[in-house]
């Protein structure tokens, strides 16, 4: 009886070894390296490479561009996640009542989710065209410069991101709705509960967990978002859509400040981990209540 578990263990480790090696070299090692990089002044084109301690972080603390990027990241995250959850929930409720054409409905819905974010950016760049864009025409021939006006650009980026990510939220909620037994609704009907009461007392409480999960996934994704603003606006106009990720990228590969850019990357990493940790705490606190 003791030989079997030991053999299992050896086999298990052998099967895991290639994965652990790959993740070690290509995820863990870079994860540690970026911390080390962030403690250096490193500008390859000038041959600068020296230890800087916490200089890069000290500079971030008083860098107005950093705080502006942090604010943009926060605005982008809150606005897009809130819209994605609200819209996604609505779409899921509508889809769950669908009797025929569900496959077609899901195809139309998931189209936006499945294509590359760069394509989404190109789609919306064309829709936002000041003269020939469908959006301005639909607004009655206005000439709004969506991507060129600092007051509109962030909203334009949020809209494109919501379009792309909402289907994921809708799909999660939709699957949960299908798993609710019909008897629950029938019982509510027998008890004379109206539609609104059924929604408030049965449907939404049962969706709470999945909505919380969608909130986590989408918040993490919004904090990490890069493609959509980088391609759609490049962080412009006048920095109006420059998030922390875009600032980090520009520092790394356009200003070639590897150490400083690494510090920005570490900040994004810490933000993501903090949100995930807060979520786990929240989940644990809520668990006993149901």
């Amino acid at each position: 009886m003791t030989a079997r578990p030991r053999a299992d263990r050896r086999l298990g480790l052998a099967l895991l070894a290639p994965t652990l090696a790959a993740l070690g070299v290509l995820t863990v090692f870079p994860g540690v390296w970026v911390l080390w990089l962030s403690l250096q002044h490193r500008v390859p084109i000038f041959g600068v490479a020296r230890f800087a301690g916490l200089d890069n972080y000290a500079f971030l603390a008083v860098d107005p561009r950093f705080w502006s990027a942090a604010l943009t990241t926060a605005l982008f995250t809150v606005a897009s996640v809130a819209l994605e959850l609200a819209l996604g929930l609505g779409v899921a409720l509508a889809l769950a009542r669908q009797r025929r054409g569900r496959r077609l409905a899901l195809s139309l819905l998931l189209l936006a989710w499945a294509m590359p974010a760069v394509v989404t950016a190109k789609l919306f760049e064309w829709l936002y065209h000041p003269a020939a864009g469908l959006i301005n025409v639909a607004l009655g021939g206005r000439a709004l410069n969506w991507l060129g006006d600092p007051r509109l650009a962030l909203a334009a980026v949020v809209l494109a991101d919501v379009w792309r990510a909402m289907p994921f939220v809708a799909l999660l909620c939709y699957a949960r709705l299908l798993a609710i037994p019909a008897e629950l609704y029938e019982a509510a009907q027998v008890d004379g509960a109206g539609r609104l009461a059924t929604l408030g007392r049965i449907t939404l409480p049962l969706l709470a967990r999945i909505l919380l999960l969608a909130l986590l996934f989408r918040t993490l994704a919004a904090l990490r978002a890069f493609d959509i603003m980088f391609v759609l606006t490049g962080g412009g106009p006048a920095g109006a859509t420059e998030t922390l990720t875009v600032y980090a990228y520009r520092s790394l590969f356009q200003m070639l400040q590897l150490g400083f850019g690494a510090a920005l990357g570490v900040v994004v990493f810490v933000l993501v981990m903090a949100v995930a940790w807060a979520y786990l705490r929240l989940g644990r606190a809520a668990a006993p209540a149901g």
Binding site: R103, A114, M115, A132, R224, D227
Partner: protein, 273 residues
Amino acid sequence: MRRAGPALADALVLLALAAYAVPFFWQLLTSLKPEAELLRLPPLLPSRLTLEHYRVVLAQSLIPQALWNSLGIAALTTLLALALGLPAAYALARLAVPGTRALLLVIVASTAFPQIATVSPLYLLLRALALRDTWTGLVLVHASFALPLTIWLLAGFIREIPIETDEAAAVDGAGWLAAVRWVLLPLLAPGLASAALLTFLFSWNEFLFAYTFTASEASRTIPVALALFPGVYEVPWGDIAAASMLASLPPVLIVVGLQRFLVSGLLAGAVKD
């Protein structure tokens, strides 16, 4: 009224979702519009449809090479992630390996890893290994990035298969490898398809790593080529629309043709805890 109600509601939902997909269909229409009518709106519909933009993109741009790069890199990424991930998932789901719980936690945590944090060290690493601007470099990076999700999905799918099926095969005298090959793998096929599709889509769509680690048409993938699509004097909206449609072709085929596997993969990745 009672009979027409549900059918009408169904039709309205489909109509609303079709409206939601308008940005895509509008780009499709744009890709088929004659050059002279692109910047004139209204009318909404063009006087005639043309394949001219597709001809230009396929014959005179770097898009075909980028599509080929993307196809190769995404396919190899998928193969590599499955080759590494399947044994790992089997070990985590079926064998008493010490520290399984901790390992699973690390794997879940690493799916949240921001690319922007590792992009600079990976750049230095690939440069040191002379793997910049190669398929190999991008495949390695994509596969390792997709690996946690692949393992997570596959371990979940393996757990859904009752352990008795493995044990029954073992009792029949089959070695564990034979049991895996002839009993577990066939049952796992739909799960493998889901994991493969999601990995393929991730690699096909990925932009930040591909943009940073490529430098020429030797390895530029389709999102990168699309982001860098050149315009000489003015933006070639029709050509960009055609290139966008070509870039969306595999995702669209997956959504329409392999929807079942895509949906089950997405849900399994999210809902299992």
